[in-house]
């Protein structure tokens, strides 16, 4: 079935040059190059890019706006360059040829849960479960004109959760910003770079942590690592995470969740006069019991806030799916 659609698609792409000879305007939109494609005029593209940038800055949870920003700013240069990076790599070429999609159908989640815990598949599914998201939450690309480049954008988007899995960065805003910076250094897509500006909207201590620890880590690793788009994730599900990090050349960032918990503890210690519990296990995630024991008023408020945010995310994702 895939073969037959490819054929139709190339027929359409062949037909494009003739159609595009006519003046292209809002009143005379050329036919789509692939199913779901929406050809945009220059001003439309500009307006959508500016609008989506503003909206995602105001509300970083608008995944649709971020996706739109990604598509409208990637063309003409950046997405082509990313495609060329894939074309230069044997695995990247194989991906472009097969055009695999990552969905809950293509990946058997129960099988992934049965894999040894240090494999990419298990880490990925554990991460999905922990964050309560599904591979199906990714929208289709619509505004990129070249069909192959549109697939590259789609692939980047669908593999985003794997990048979370191998870097271990969580979906809190801080983690997202750090990951976006990593992606920018690695893929060069403008949206990922623009997203780093939302560091301006996080709390001062988080911003400081980003600037001191996570952004330098992201830039260094993003630039030195092999392109993450040249990984055939579907074939690497049983690979050891450490081995994959080594292969790509990625250092493990300090655990953000631990760092946050520790920062909170330090903050609380500063406020209270008690000098106990200063030797909280460094480098390991605090267990549920421990957090329960030392939870303060402020911390509980923050935990509840996070809970609400996560619920809101889920609702939004549900809405996206519909």
């Amino acid at each position: 079935m895939a073969a037959s659609t490819t054929c139709l698609r190339c027929l359409r792409s062949r037909a494009l040059p003739a159609a595009s000879n006519r003046a292209f305007s809002v009143l005379n939109r050329p036919p789509p190059n692939y199913p779901g494609h929406v050809p945009l005029t220059g001003p439309e593209r500009l307006f959508l890019a500016a609008g989506s940038a503003l909206m995602s800055f105001i509300d970083p949870r608008r995944g649709d706006m971020i996706a739109l920003l990604g598509e409208t700013t990637a063309q003409p240069f950046f997405i082509t360059r990313l495609r060329d990076t894939m074309l230069r790599h044997p695995t990247g070429r194989r991906i472009l040829r097969a055009r695999p999609r990552i969905t809950s159908q293509s990946l058997s989640l129960p099988r992934l849960r049965s894999l040894p815990p240090n494999t990419i598949g298990a880490t990925y599914v554990a991460w999905l479960d922990r964050e309560g998201v599904s591979p199906d939450t990714r929208a289709d690309v619509r505004y990129i004109d070249d069909e192959e480049c549109a697939y590259v954008m789609q692939r980047y988007r669908e593999c985003h959760d794997f990048y979370h899995a191998i870097t271990g960065l969580p979906i809190v805003r801080e983690g997202e910003i750090a990951l976006k910076a990593f992606e920018f250094a690695n893929t060069g897509l403008p949206m990922t770079g623009l997203s780093v500006f939302s560091a301006l909207t996080v709390k001062a201590d988080e911003r400081e942590r980003l600037l001191k620890v996570y952004l330098p880590w992201a830039v260094r690793n993003g630039m030195q690592a092999e392109s993450v788009l040249n990984v055939y994730w579907e074939e690497e599900l049983e690979t050891d995470v450490g081995e994959m990090r080594e292969r790509l050349g990625i250092e493990v960032p300090p655990d953000l969740r631990t760092a946050r918990a520790e920062a909170r503890r330090r903050k609380r210690d500063g406020k209270t006069t008690t000098t106990t519990a200063t030797t909280a296990a460094a480098g390991t995630a605090p267990t549920g019991d421990e957090t329960a024991k030392v939870e303060t008023e402020a911390e509980r408020a923050e935990r509840e806030q996070l809970e609400i945010e996560r619920k809101a995310m889920e609702i939004l994702e549900q809405a996206d799916k519909m």
Partner: protein, 510 residues
């Protein structure tokens, strides 16, 4: 300019009587020249008797041409064809056997891989010296359009008279160039030499052993005459020694003339192909500039075409090692796929057919006639290559020495101007010699040769420089020059300020 000067026959007819008078009056009336050139002038008047009386070696010739390539042969044929120079005693020395070229006959359904593009002015000279009538017109492909584009951005110049505003001018011939096989051209030139009234001495299968200055003999002072010793032991003394002996010219070395320039670290790969039926399209020359070098397809009669692909030596070696069908796919891809793909394909040892089929299905590229029609088959044994370089001799002349063609200047083949500028040298040199003879000068003196050098040096230097800069400009894969060069190309292509029409008429006129 051409019409004023090249028409030797007319000029000579008109000035024949004056010329004789001039020659007779020379020693008294033009005494300065007579004194300056006194020794050679004496020898000129008594040459034949001296030559026969002197010791068996060396034999004295007015002109000795070293090198029997197209430029050397054109020179020998032109000297014999121009009335003023036809009496000169000429010898031509060639290391290879000329018999296969003399006896060459075309094989149907086959074209050799070494092809030259002859611009109209070159063809005019060939007509004049009687060589063009020996060229079989059904094996010559002329074209009046070109498609040249940038491999990175796709910016394109279309030299197509039918698309130019105002269309084709019916009065002028719009042909840009004629494609002829090298061997076919040499064959025609040898036939033209065979037709000459005064036959030059053709010495083939013979190498030049050494060149040195002659000695003072009892009757002759030959101390400033180059004497060529051949591998057969024969010695030729030359009033004028002409180096048409290619890039590593022994004549240039003998004259102590420095040749400057650089190697491009590129080889040009050539091959001849069968192509799909292209009768629906005009015959065009196609050239796509890739960062590794330009790739060109040149038209041949019928469903044939010739390739000239300049790229790195490693890539050429790889292209030669490919299976024929993979090689064909690779060349088709070179005009259709992105440079990233082409670069990647150079790493594949097999399966190029498969890979290009997929890439072409997902890559948007123009269709014929903007790009060449598909090639279907490479002719056996036509894949060959040669290194590319840029060289320019400090000067083309010295006392009793002249350099023409590649001996004087070697150019990147992207513009197809190497042989044409060599033949331009021949035309200019013969014109200078005729002028010198008309004024009673020695053919070997720098006074005779000076006009040749001053006429040819600057145009050749400009052409060499221009082609060299193009090579550099299109060597960039990215950076600020890439959009700038595309902008320039767009301006030319839109025919602003009539620039394109001007370029095209210049190309057709030249």
């Amino acid at each position: 300019m051409w019409h004023e000067n090249i028409d030797h026959a007319n000029v000579i007819n008109r000035t024949k009587t004056t010329m004789r008078q001039t020659l007779l009056r020379l020693p008294t009336r033009n005494s300065v020249w007579a004194f300056r050139a006194s020794r050679p002038a004496q020898i000129a008047s008594t040459r034949r008797s001296f030559a026969s009386e002197a010791s068996p070696s060396p034999e004295v010739y007015d002109v000795v041409v070293v090198g029997g390539g197209p430029v050397g042969l054109t020179l020998a044929a032109s000297l014999g064809a121009a009335r003023t120079t036809s009496h000169l005693k000429v010898a031509l020395i060639e290391g290879m056997d000329l018999a296969p070229i003399r006896n060459w006959s075309p094989k149907p359904d086959y074209f050799a891989n070494r092809i030259v593009s002859l611009i109209p002015s070159t063809v005019r000279l060939l007509k004049e010296i009687g060589a063009w009538k020996h060229i079989q017109q059904n094996r010559v492909q002329s074209y009046d359009g070109m498609q040249v584009w940038d491999g990175m951005t796709g910016a394109r110049v279309e030299f197509d008279w039918n698309k130019l505003w105002g269309g084709k001018d019916e009065q002028t011939d719009t042909t840009i160039a004629h494609m002829v096989e090298n061997i076919h051209l040499s064959h025609g030139l040898l036939k033209a030499i065979g037709d000459l009234a005064v036959q030059p001495t053709m010495i083939d299968k013979t190498k030049v052993e050494r060149i040195q200055y002659g000695e003072m003999t009892g009757q002759l002072d030959m101390r400033d005459w180059p004497v060529v010793t051949l591998s057969t032991g024969q010695q030729l003394a030359a009033r004028l020694l002409i180096g048409a002996d290619g890039g590593n010219s022994p004549v240039r070395t003998f004259a102590g003339i420095e040749s400057r320039g650089w190697d491009y670290d590129r080889h040009s790969m050539v091959a001849t192909f069968k192509i799909e039926d292209d009768s629906a399209f005009p015959k065009f020359a196609y050239q796509r500039f890739l960062p590794s070098g330009p790739v060109a397809i040149l038209p041949l009669p019928g469903n044939f075409a010739n390739l000239a692909w300049s790229t790195t030596p490693e890539k050429v070696t790889h292209l030669k090692s490919l299976a024929p069908e993979d090689f064909v796919a690779m060349v088709n891809a070179a005009f259709r796929l992105s440079y990233t793909d082409i670069d990647y394909l150079h790493n594949l040892k097999s399966g190029v057919v498969e890979e290009t089929k997929w890439r072409e299905s997902v890559t948007q590229h123009p269709d014929p006639p903007q790009i060449p029609v598909r090639i279907t088959e490479v002719l056996d044994g036509t894949r060959a290559s040669f290194p590319l370089k840029m060289r320019h001799a400090d000067k083309y002349i010295a006392e009793r020495i002249a350099l023409v063609g590649d001996a004087a200047h070697t150019i990147h083949p992207m513009a197809g101007q190497g042989l044409n500028s060599g033949i331009g040298d021949v035309y200019s040199l013969v014109k200078s010699l005729a002028e010198g003879i008309r004024h009673g000068q020695d053919v070997g003196s720098s006074f005779t040769l000076e006009p040749f050098q001053s006429e040819r040096y600057l145009p050749n230097n400009a052409l060499l420089g221009f082609v060299d800069k193009l090579h550099t400009l299109y060597g960039f894969e990215s950076g600020p020059l890439v959009p700038l060069r595309s902008l320039g190309v767009e301006i030319i292509n839109r025919d602003w300020f009539g620039l394109k029409r001007f370029l095209m008429s210049q190309a057709a006129k030249s």
